[in-house]
């Protein structure tokens, strides 16, 4: 039996209001915010990147677990904004978290589902008893082209999970996991290109919705459970609208989805998105509640998990500041400052 032992989240301090972006490009802010259901997004500091944010989140997870970092036996770091094209981010994160030298590791990229893919790899190692503890991080300092639609949603954050297979340490055990993938070119970034490209409405039905819905159906079938068996559901959040729509399509209610909707306040931090939605749920979940989780990564694929919380969760909730509270620690910046922070000028 494997599961989540601890988690940690890091959101950079800066926020850009969507109204500032809209004003810059002469668009109707209210219309955009209503459509996307986002009011502001998280922007990294000038000197932050996926690695520095990942380290912050990792440190919090280690603090919650009260574990000696050298006991972590795997480190998987998922991002689509790795600082290097060639040189692992995982080892930098592991080094500064004092993990030591004896760990399985690799960098992962799969658009927004790199983090959840890392979790599946780690559960594989845990279930085979190859390791006792593994660290998974999803972190992104997302870039978006000025004046592009993505500019309203592309955000930055990091989320870390320590996974283990020691029964009395698990706060949410994993009951089921599966994955659904295909080669669907909805969103991509060429090697050397600064900003990603996407194909507009093609990113919706054939991409996001097809993969999440199919994976969701497969997961329910595999587990022989119904949506009403779950207290919570978490989906990847490219904007505020899509997860609301897909939840409904899979038969979940808004009440089941609500706790995970961090996107409304910080936008889409790509590899950290669904992981942070899950963390937000874990912040308030009670013991013995089931959580339905399906991520999505462009290109494309969806990773599904079914978690069940344990009595242990209540103890660890005391050791963390809830994600929704962390989100409130913010400073607003202007559009020109945002360009500076993201190295556009």
């Amino acid at each position: 039996m494997s599961g989540i032992v601890a988690y940690g989240t890091y959101i950079p301090k800066y926020r850009l209001r969507l109204s500032e972006i809209a004003q810059m490009w002469g668009k109707d802010s209210l219309e955009i915010e209503a459509g996307l259901k986002i009011s502001e997004k998280a922007v990294p500091g000038f000197d932050e990147d996926a690695v520095t944010m990942g380290i912050e989140a990792g440190k919090k997870a280690i603090g919650m677990a009260e574990i000696d970092p050298s006991r972590l036996q795997s480190v998987y770091f998922g991002s689509e904004s790795h600082p290097y094209a060639v040189k692992p981010s995982s080892t930098t994160v592991a080094q500064y978290l004092s993990v030591g030298n004896n760990y399985f590791t690799a960098d992962l990229e799969f658009a927004c589902k790199a983090g959840s893919a890392g979790m599946q790899v780690t559960f594989g190692l845990l279930n085979s008893r190859s390791i006792k503890y593994g660290l998974v991080i999803g972190s992104d300092a997302a870039q978006s082209k000025p004046h592009d639609a993505l500019e309203y949603t592309a955000a930055s954050s990091a989320c870390a999970y320590i996974l283990g297979n020691s029964k009395n340490e698990i706060i949410a055990s994993i009951l089921e996991m599966s994955s659904f993938s295909s080669d669907t070119p909805d969103f991509w970034r060429r090697d050397g290109a600064k900003y990603p490209s996407h194909f507009g409405r093609f990113t919706g039905e054939p991409a996001y919705f097809t993969h999440i819905i199919q994976e969701g159906k497969d997961l329910l079938a595999k587990s022989k459970l119904k949506p009403s068996d779950f207290a919570f559901c978490v989906f990847h959040m490219p904007n505020g609208k899509f997860p609301r729509v897909v939840a409904k399509k899979l038969g979940f209610s808004y009440e089941q989805l609500a706790a995970s909707l961090i996107v409304d306040k910080i936008g889409n931090p790509y590899s950290a998105s669904s992981l942070m939605g899950l963390a937000s749920v874990l912040d308030i979940a009670k013991p013995k509640q089931k959580i339905f989780f399906v991520s999505y990564g462009s290109g494309a694929g969806s990773d599904g998990f079914i978690f069940e919380t344990t009595e242990e969760l209540a103890k660890l909730q005391k050791k963390t500041i809830p994600v929704l509270k962390q989100i409130e620690d913010k400073i607003y910046i202007s559009y020109p400052e945002y360009l500076r922070h993201t190295h556009a000028i």
């Binding site: 930098t92 500064y96 400073i331």
Partner: protein
Amino acid sequence: MITSPVKLWRRQKSVSSLIGKRGKILLWTIIRVPAKSFVGEAPYPVVIVKVKNGENMIGQLVDWQKEDLRVGREVVCVLRRLSTEEKEAIIYYNIKFKPL
């Protein structure tokens, strides 16, 4: 600026032991005429911090607002990226201070 990967590597242990350490601002200034590699982030504050149970350290203050620039302000050591003009050089990470 410092671009030797060997130096970065040599400093890893001491730098990682500082992440998360807390301290108080002893002195502050704002650099308005920066050195070349710091042009993108100027103006920025530089502070001397008395680290808890340790010595004094000097470093940049990040995620700051005007009210944070005062003697006695509590800060924490964080790892941040040092900027460089060079697109092909190794990326340097160093300790900076963030108001608590």
